[in-house]
Symmetry: C2
Subunit: 225 residues, 2 copies
DNA sequence: CAATTATTCAATAAATTAGTTTATTGGTTG
DNA sequence: CAACCAATAAACTAATTTATTGAATAATTG
């Protein structure tokens, strides 16, 4: 096999496959998905994904070897972050492809949501329109750092963990739209369940920040007002 | 690990990883790249990629298991084709990500091209502008079926294998722009080398059909005139 | 400077994947 | 229906990947 064309092609596709290998493990994809929201330390990532620290570290190094993420050492902590916003766009295109080609994704989601009150799919476009108009209270239930990294303009930031303590700040006479990281993040689901149980008029927006950005929705960064 | 949220997330990311696994092998990527140009039989794919038929068949079945490609049996032959145009768009976004994140891709390309006459990078935008204006002869050197599946409007179809026989149809007093499947396809390179050796004024357009489509370039299908 | 903490490294076993070889299937043709 | 062909399946070896464990490193703290 001395053919230089073959050597060239093999070398090129081997490089492309580095990206493919990096995103061929469920756990690495979950890590990448989290990092697309905001940077984190190894320990935080391990905790959120249910991995041991050593195992998370290995997966993160695999992502770094493919140059999808970068690290910064501050004191004893190593912070991982995505190397470029295009990485998040690529991850999203992969997610959208999986949704469109693999019927199992929809099945798994339906099975998870069935039996939960108020998780009926809403008319997204109408909901997004009401958000645009400011006709609803928008609630971002992700951790504060993720909110600061990018959120829907005008959204309130009340992380799920603190929601119970801040219920008094929310109105009963207005519709509340909760959102989080996206369709496969459970924070907004739990928030809506809690709000409904307390008598609020709450619905969930499935779309996350990456999805909204992709459809040209404006984003705000930092704290509001 | 009875936490239903974890079970849900594991199931979802496992589905995403099916796509990742499918595109984690260099050979499968090469197969997918070819199929994005036009459908082919197993044997044709095996020959073009330098795989044994049995091995190619296995890889193709892996792509099919991820629903990225589909098959149709006609007589004794099985034809593989991409399941949807979004698969090609995904493949392209992966390729672009690899080009932007992995410096090795550019290195490998430079090393392959160095020492070849007339392969100096051209000013692409200016070249594309001249193509749009019809100021040059455009030459599609891919196999005819690929040309018919989609080509630059006004381009001549002369597959590389038949180029030598059709040199008399080409003018000496006008610039000829040859293109093929894209930056990592060698057909246009070989065409330009041959044309230059015969005294033609030829240059290569690196971009392939998928790239041009992505920048909104109009496409023609079927035979010209 | 010893102890602590976050992370990485190294070693291992288990599981998965890739490529090869040798059937087998299913359709076509003489 | 026997011979032939494209494609797949099955069996096997070699190589790679994964999770786990325990040790090593490197920065910080008492």
């Amino acid at each position: 096999m001395r053919n230089p064309n073959r050597v060239f092609k093999d070398a090129i596709y081997e490089q492309f496959a580095r990206i493919g290998k990096a995103v061929s493990s469920p756990k690495r994809l979950e890590l990448l998905d989290l990092l697309c929201q905001w940077e984190r330390t190894v320990e935080a990532l391990a905790k959120e994904t249910g991995l041991t620290v050593a195992n998370a570290s290995q997966h993160l190094q695999a992502l770094r070897a493919a140059r999808l993420v970068e690290t910064e050492k501050v004191g004893v902590f190593v912070t991982y972050r995505v190397a470029d916003q295009v990485v998040c766009e690529f991850f999203r295109s992969m997610r959208v492809l999986a949704e469109s080609r693999l019927a199992e994704v929809e099945q798994i989601k339906r099975r998870f949501l069935e039996g939960r009150e108020g998780m009926e799919p809403v008319d997204r476009d109408a909901l997004i329109e009401r958000i645009r108009e400011g006709a609803v209270i928008i609630l971002d239930v992700r951790p504060v750092e993720e909110y600061n990294a990018g959120h829907i303009p005008g959204a309130m930031s009340i992380p799920l963990k603190e929601l119970e303590r801040h219920l008094s700040e929310l109105p009963h006479n207005q519709e509340i739209v909760a959102y989080c990281r996206g369709p496969y993040c459970v924070l907004a689901i739990q928030a809506v369940e809690m709000l409904r149980a307390k008598g609020f008029n709450a619905v969930r927006l499935e779309e996350g920040i990456q999805d909204l950005r992709a459809i040209g929705f404006p984003m705000a960064v930092g704290e509001e007002k």
